[in-house]
C-alpha cells in the first residue's frame, strides 16, 4: 500500500471488515437462537403442565379412596396452618424477650405461655374441624367409573403434552435448519465478498511480504518520537514474532508507554514505520490508521490505570469491547429491533464465554467500582478479548497487584496466548512476571534498544545491568 491509504483501499477494507464481522456474528447466532427456542418451549411446557394438573385435580380427588385422600388433605391443610403460625410464634418469642427486660422474666413468661397456649388451642381446634370435614372413619371407596375416568383423563393429558412436545420438537428442528441454511447461504456470500476484497488488498500490497518476514507480526522500523525536544523514542527497531509473549523492559522514562502509544496511534510517531500483520495476514502500516480503527486490525490494548466504565456492569463493559462488531444502525438501536436484540444476545453469549474462561462469571452483573484491583485488571483483559484480538498490548498488567494476583495473571496471560492464538506484547516492571511468562524480552533505555534476548540472557546482559544498576555500581 502506498504512503497514505488510498480512498479505494479504505473502501475495500471497510467492505472486507463488514463481511468478517458478520461472519463472526453468524458463528454464535445459531446456538443463541437454539437457546432462545428451548427457553420458550420450556416456559410453554411448564404452563401446559400446570394447566393439565389443574384440570386433573378434581378427577383425582374423586378417584382416590377417601381414607388416602382425607389423610393427605388433612396433612396438607395442617402443614399450611402450622406454616401460618411460624411468624406469630417468632413474634411472641421476640415480644417475650423485650418484655422480660422491662417487666421481669417471670411476668413475661406468663404472657408467652398464654399466647402460645392460644396458638396451640387453635391447632387443636383446627384439627377437630378437619376431622369433621375429612372423616377418617366409615369412608367409602370410589366407584370404578370415577377411577376409570381419572385414568382416561390422565392418559389424554399425557398424550396431549407428548403431542405438544413432539410438535415443538419438529418446529424447533425446522426453525433451526432454516436458520442454519440461511446462515450457510449468507456465509457463502460473505465469504465470497471477503475473499474478493481480501485478494484485492493482497494484490495491493504485493511488495510488502518481502519487507516483513512471514513469522513476524509486528515490525517497528527506526521509530522516532519527539515531544518538543524530549526524545522519547529514538531510532528503535523491533520484531515481534507470531504467537510469542514479548516483554518490554526498561528504567522509568525509557519510553516504553510512548512506544505502545505510537503502535496504537495514540501518538503519531515523528518518523519511522510500524508494520503489522493484521487479522488476515496482510501487512499494514499502522501509521496510516486512525486511533479508533486500530482495533479493527486486531490490536487490543490495556492501560496502566484501569480504564473501565464505572456506570456499566461488568458484562456491559465487556460488550463495549465488541463495539465494532455491531452492525445495527441508529434506527435499530432506538427501536430495539429484532436485529439489535439478536446482536446483543450473541455478544452477551460471547462475553459470558470470555468471563467464564477468565473465572469472572460471578461478577457479571455487578458494577466494577469497589472490586479488587486484580479483578479489575482481569476484567480489562477480558474486554480486550471481546475485540477478537490478534495481538494484545498490555501496559504494566501487574502494577498494583500482590504476589498471588501476579501469579494468577501470569497463568491467565499464558492461557490467553494458547487458547485465543494471540501474540502478547507487554511492558512490565515486575521482573518476576517478565521472567516467568515472556519468551523474549527487549530492554530499552532512553528510547534506544539495548538488547533483545531470552529472559535469562537479558538478566546477564552487561548493558541492561548498567542501565538499571549503573549508578549503584559507581556508588
Amino acid at each position: 500500500m502506498g504512503r497514505k491509504l488510498k480512498f479505494i483501499t479504505r473502501f475495500w477494507i471497510r467492505k472486507r471488515d463488514k463481511a468478517y464481522e458478520k461472519l463472526v456474528f453468524n458463528e454464535k447466532y445459531a446456538s443463541v437462537i437454539e437457546a432462545q427456542i428451548d427457553a420458550a418451549t420450556e416456559k410453554k411446557l411448564n404452563k401446559l403442565q400446570y394447566k393439565a394438573k389443574k384440570r386433573l385435580y378434581p378427577l383425582e380427588i374423586a378417584a382416590t379412596p377417601n381414607a388416602v385422600k382425607h389423610k393427605e388433605l388433612q396433612e396438607r391443610a395442617m402443614t399450611q396452618f402450622k406454616e401460618k403460625q411460624v411468624m406469630p410464634r417468632r413474634a411472641i418469642q421476640q415480644t417475650y424477650l423485650r418484655k422480660s427486660k422491662r417487666i421481669g422474666e417471670q411476668a413475661a413468661g406468663v404472657y408467652r405461655d398464654r399466647k402460645l397456649a392460644k396458638l396451640d388451642r387453635a391447632i387443636e381446634g383446627y384439627q377437630a374441624a378437619l376431622d369433621a370435614k375429612y372423616p377418617m372413619e366409615n369412608t367409602t371407596e370410589p366407584t370404578r367409573e370415577t377411577v376409570e375416568r381419572y385414568a382416561k383423563a390422565q392418559r389424554e393429558e399425557d398424550a396431549a403434552l407428548a403431542a405438544f412436545s413432539r410438535e415443538r420438537e419438529i418446529k424447533r428442528n425446522q426453525r433451526l435448519t432454516a436458520v442454519q441454511e440461511k446462515i450457510e447461504k449468507e456465509n457463502v456470500h460473505l465469504q465470497r465478498v471477503f475473499d474478493k476484497y481480501q485478494s484485492l488488498l493482497e494484490d495491493a500490497d504485493a511488495d510488502e511480504p518481502e519487507r516483513v518476514a512471514s513469522d513476524v507480526i509486528l515490525n517497528i522500523r527506526d521509530m522516532h518520537m519527539q515531544f518538543e525536544g524530549v526524545k522519547a523514542v529514538d531510532g528503535l527497531t523491533l520484531d515481534v514474532k507470531k504467537g510469542e509473549i514479548f516483554g518490554l523492559i526498561g528504567p522509568n522514562g525509557a519510553g516504553k508507554t510512548t512506544l505502545f502509544n505510537c503502535i496504537t496511534q495514540f501518538h503519531r510517531p515523528t518518523a519511522g514505520k510500524v508494520y503489522y500483520r493484521d487479522r488476515f495476514d496482510n501487512v499494514v502500516n499502522m501509521t496510516e490508521y486512525s486511533v479508533h480503527d486500530v482495533v479493527k486490525t486486531g490490536i487490543a490494548r490495556t492501560f496502566q490505570n484501569v480504564e473501565l466504565v464505572w456506570y456499566l456492569t461488568v458484562l456491559e463493559n465487556l460488550m463495549v469491547g465488541a463495539h465494532t462488531f455491531f452492525a445495527s444502525n441508529l434506527f435499530d438501536q432506538f427501536v430495539h429491533t429484532r436485529r439489535l436484540k439478536d446482536e446483543e444476545e450473541v455478544t452477551k453469549a460471547q462475553a459470558l464465554e470470555v468471563l467464564e474462561q477468565l473465572g469472572l462469571l460471578e461478577y457479571k452483573d455487578v458494577w466494577p467500582g469497589g472490586l479488587p484491583y486484580g479483578i479489575l485488571k482481569r476484567i480489562e483483559l477480558a474486554r480486550t478479548l471481546m475485540t477478537r484480538p490478534r495481538m494484545i498490548i498490555l501496559d504494566e498488567p501487574a502494577a498494583g497487584l500482590n504476589d498471588k494476583e501476579t501469579e494468577d495473571l501470569a497463568d491467565i496471560i499464558k492461557k490467553i496466548r494458547d487458547e485465543y492464538a494471540c501474540t502478547i506484547f507487554l511492558v512490565e516492571h515486575d521482573m518476576n512476571l517478565v521472567m516467568s511468562v515472556c519468551d523474549r524480552v527487549c530492554a530499552i533505555s532512553f528510547g534506544k534498544r539495548l538488547a533483545v534476548d531470552t529472559p535469562e540472557k537479558i538478566q546477564e546482559n552487561r548493558l541492561v545491568q548498567e542501565a538499571y544498576l549503573g549508578e549503584v555500581e559507581e556508588a
Binding site: 416456559k43 411448564n46 404452563k47 403442565q49 400446570y50 394438573k53 389443574k54 385435580y57 380427588i61 388433605l73 396438607r76 399450611q80 411468624m87 417468632r90 413474634a91 418469642q93 421476640q94 424477650l97 496504537t264 495514540f266 486511533v291 479508533h292 480503527d293 486500530v294 482495533v295 479493527k296 487490543a300 490494548r301 492501560f303 480504564e307 473501565l308 466504565v309 464505572w310 456506570y311 456499566l312 456491559e316 460488550m319 463495549v320 469491547g321 463495539h323 465494532t324 455491531f326 445495527s328 441508529l330 438501536q333 432506538f334 427501536v335 430495539h336 439489535l340 446483543e344 474486554r383 475485540t387
Partner: protein, 357 residues
Amino acid sequence: MKNYYKDLRDKAANPIIKYTRNPLFGYVILALVLVVIQLLFMFTDGIISLTISKAIVQTMIYTIVCLGLSILIGRAGLTSLGTAGFMGLGAYIAGNILKFANLPFIFVVIGTAAAAVILGVVVGFISLRVQGRALLIITLALSEILIELFKTPNEFTGGASGFTGVPFPKLMMFIQLNRETTYFLVLVALFIMIVLTLNIIKSPTGRAMLTMASSPPAAQAMGINLLKYRILAFVIATVYAMIGGALYVAYVQGASPYSWTLLLSLNVLVAVVLGGVGSIPGVIMGSFVIFGLDLAVLKNIAFFQKYTSASVIFSGLLIIIIIIKYPGGLARLLRDINVGVKKLYVKWRVYRYGQEA
C-alpha cells in the same frame, strides 16, 4: 384444596412480578395518572383547573427537552447552553409548517427532526475540539445568534412581536385536535420519547457514549470514534429540543422570541442537574420542580396567591436545599427512599420477629 396446585406455578411467571419489574411500569402508571387528570379536567367541573392542565403540558414538553440534554450531559459528558435557541427554531419551523401547509402532525415532527439533524451536525462540528466551559460559551453564542434571527422582522417568525395564528395540529389527515386533546398528543409524544431514550441508553450507542465520557482513551482503543459519537449526542439533544419546540407551538398556538432566552436554557440545565444527570425519573422530577411546581401546585395555595414573589423564593430555596442535600440529583433521593424503605422494613422485621434463622 385450592392451594394444591398453586405451588406448582412458577413464581417468576406471576403476572404482578412480571409487570412491575418491567422498566416501563412506572412510566405507564405515571401516564395513566396524567390521563385521569386530563379526563377530570374535561368531564368534571372545577376539580382540575385549566392552569393545572396547562402546567402539566408545559412540564411534559420541557421534560422532552430535558431528556435530550440529559443524554448529552449524562451519557456523552458534554454540555450545552443552546437549548432555548434550538427549541425556538423547532417551534418556528413546526409553526410555519402548521400555519401554511397544515400537514398532519407526524409530518411536522419529521420535518422538524430533519432540520434538527442538520443543525445538530453543524453544532457538533463547530464545537468539535472544545470541552467544558468553552463548549458552553460556543453553544450559548449559537443560541443567541438564532434568537437574534427570530427577532429580526420577517414573515416566518413575526419579528419581535411574535408569531401567532397557528392552528391546532391534525392527526392522520382528518382528526382535528383541540386544546384538550393536544394534551394527549403531548403525553403520547413524551411517552414515546421516554421509550426511545431508554432504548438508546441500553444499546451499543449508549454504552459507547458512556465509555467516551468516562474514559476517552479506552473508548478509542475499543474502536469508538469519538467524533462520531460527539456529533451524534448533539444531534440527539437537538432533535429532542426541536420536537419539544414543535409541541410547544402546537399547544400554545404561537411563539414569542422572548420565550427563548438564556433563562430557559439555564432552567433546562438546572432541571437536568437537579434531577440527576442521565436518569430518566430524575429528569421528570427535576423538570417538574423547575417548570411545573409553581404553576400546578403553588398557584393553588392561598398564601402564594397573595404573595406572588413568595413562590419564586420558595422554589429557589427548594432548589438550594435539594442541591445541598442531594448533589447527585433527585434520582439519588428516589433511590435513597427506596433503600430507606427496604431498610426500615428489615429493621421492623428484626424488631418484630427476631433475626432470621
